[in-house]
Amino acid sequence: MNVQKSRSMAEARSASSQWGTDSEASQLGALRRGEEKAFEAMVRSFGPRLLSVARRFLRDEEDARDAVQEGFLSAYRSIGTFQGGSQISTWLHRIVVNACLMRLRSRQRKPEESIEELLPRFAEDGHQVAHPTPEWEGSAEELLARRETREMVREAIDRLPDSYRAVLLLRDIEELSTEEAARLVGITENAVKIRLHRARQALRTLLEPQFRRAPAW
């Protein structure tokens, strides 16, 4: 058992280091010829990063693994169409993000949680109902210096409804343009802007109880 495990680890190391040492052009050639070693090297080299991207989008570990698998199979099928204009890592990244969005879309057939209660409320005259808005205990850098902040922010992002979280991830984290995000999600650019703004507002509301400065009595 241990021998088998150490052999597979050695194979893994050899396959993943191969991508780093060979030129991308020669690896692409091998992939196009259908060589299994080249495919394995690609999976081992880019898989870990792609899995963390998929986890961010899908929250569910099994869904994230399925999306990565779909992404690699889709890359295998369409490697002939890859022009080489961008790096293969960028191309794979885009394919896996697409696979994640497809999964999110299929989930959205189920009714989604409303975000309305996380948005600011206004009186009839247009003033904020919660007046005045509380200050927070510090800037982003100061808050990040605390050990627990990262976990709180990640949990709050995970609490956003899928359709809002997807747009927030595409625009603010993946740093795609509004146009690209709109094309990937299948909505208009204006709808992306509205959804992004609402997602940020909802995230702000979720974080406020953790970071608001206690009133001075």
Binding site: P48, Y76, G126, L144, I157, H197, R200
Partner: protein, 106 residues
């Protein structure tokens, strides 16, 4: 007159530096402490989300589970096999069709 609602609904344009920000909204922010704090905490929220997600992607991410690697390699083999089988079946069909036509027309 620009209200809190008018300002807060357009904060996205201000934070993203896009056109469409009304100078009257800037004047509102200068005198409304509530909206100014809202803008500040909105910016902090965006910065926190960006920073935390960047950290979630370390330069050297941990290895992928071996079971997943195996699953992907296996499904690629299965797909190659299915596609090769389909090609063979197609060739057999093409080769056999004259025989079938011949036997039917006899």
């Amino acid at each position: 007159m620009v209200t809190c609602r008018g300002v807060i609904e357009r904060l996205g344009s201000l934070v993203d530096g896009k056109a469409g920000w009304d100078p009257a909204a800037s004047r509102h922010l200068a005198r409304c402490i509530s909206c100014a704090r809202y803008l500040q905490t909105y910016r902090t929220t965006v910065a926190l989300a960006r920073e935390v997600s960047r950290e979630a992607e370390p330069a050297d991410p941990p290895d992928m589970p071996e079971s997943l690697v195996r699953r992907i390699l296996w499904s690629r083999r299965a797909r190659s096999f299915a596609s090769a089988s389909w090609r063979v079946a197609h060739l057999i069909g093409v080769a056999a069709s004259p025989l079938i036509v011949f036997s039917l027309t006899r």
